[in-house]
Symmetry: C2
Subunit: 194 residues, 2 copies
DNA sequence: GCCAACTCACTATATCCATAGCTAGTTTGT
DNA sequence: ACAAACTAGCTATGGATATAGTGAGTTGGC
């Protein structure tokens, strides 16, 4: 259900076609809420039917047309309502922790390999988050830039600061994961007698 | 798909009925992999059909019987294979971060209320994790106790240490969330001019 | 003797989500 | 002139997950 709010969040920046959304999703909202095309297109249709979005046919090339989605006042109102409604806490569902709790069933070499893979993944993820954070700070991030154009300086500052705040949280989380993985290497060395 | 491995993990401790599983789930594996009854019962059936589990009918009271599930050798083999197979990294999908990135759409009072709720949730969650960690350290945790009974001291040590390691990760994660929430209070005070 | 609380084992329904495609038009490079 | 790469907008399928039940047997307290 958060998908629709992620879509509205994205469309507050600028009106977009389904294709634009599916592309820019991966460089912005997807860092907090990933979704594949097969969810995005049907959800856009549903939201239009429910009046949260309207669409405008825009010509594309000589013959083609594309559908540009705009957030309606109703959509914005419901988005604000969601923003202020209580959060449903997420259940834990992380295979990495499930595996870690039962590492004694794997041999130490396999455990080290797991840890190496996780470390590589989180390092890459962290680097991406830091790049994105930097593009928010200098306001070069395309989705953000489009959005703050329409705002005055005070509003723009709010929008930017909260986005940086969200990324700071993601970055702290990634660093915590990396520290935990490093503790894992230490532990397996100790238990394996090195 | 991780559900079946969570179930095998639990059943390596001791054979259990579906009901036992659904109950003890919440105090152990659910901390890393939550699942409702409606997933557990069908999955147990499927696993039995596929030969990962066998079941024994056990009398219950005067007339009733219950079904006790045991992990088969095949189940244990597949569990070990999963343990050593590469992890599929999880996509981000966290409404708390989605909201935080767009806090500028909510008024500061609503933002503070959100943060208070999250703080309360994570504090409680952290306390629970620390209680569970303590029960692992002194080996009083029922699921763990049942499991290490059958093991020699070295194997028991491995099982206990890795479980503590997993909880240390969850605890570090919870502390990171709490620190982030506190940063949120500071930020909203600053932006709201207090 | 009866009720409440608990044990046991499910099911029904609907939505969410992932994987993996498809078709057709457009632009760019050679 | 043609192919490759890209833009556009989907769909089909199957499995995962949440919410919310059902109903029957058992135990313990008063």
């Amino acid at each position: 259900m958060s998908l629709r709010w992620a879509l509205i969040a994205l469309l507050t920046g600028r009106p977009m076609t389904g294709y634009d959304i599916s592309k820019s999703f991966s460089t912005s909202v997807a860092h907090v809420w990933h979704a594949p095309d097969s969810q995005i297109y049907p959800e856009l249709n549903r939201m239009e039917r429910e009046g949260l979005l309207t669409s405008v046919e825009v010509p594309w090339g000589k013959k083609g047309t594309k559908k540009e989605y705009h957030v309606t006042d109703e959509g914005l109102t419901e988005f604000r309502e969601w923003m202020e409604s209580p959060l449903v806490p997420q259940r834990q569902r992380d295979p990495a922790y499930l595996k870690a709790a039962y590492f004694d069933f794997a041999d130490p070499a396999a455990v080290r390999e797991q840890l190496r893979q996780q470390r590589a993944y989180w390092e890459e993820h962290l680097a991406m988050l830091e790049r994105t954070r930097a593009s928010l700070v200098d306001r070069s991030h395309p989705t953000l830039a489009a959005r703050i154009e329409k705002l005055d300086e005070r509003e723009a500052d709010l929008a930017v600061r909260y986005k940086i705040y969200a990324y700071d949280g993601l970055i702290a989380r990634a660093r915590t994961e990396l520290a935990w993985i490093d503790d894992g290497f230490t532990l397996v060395d100790e238990l394996d007698g090195r």
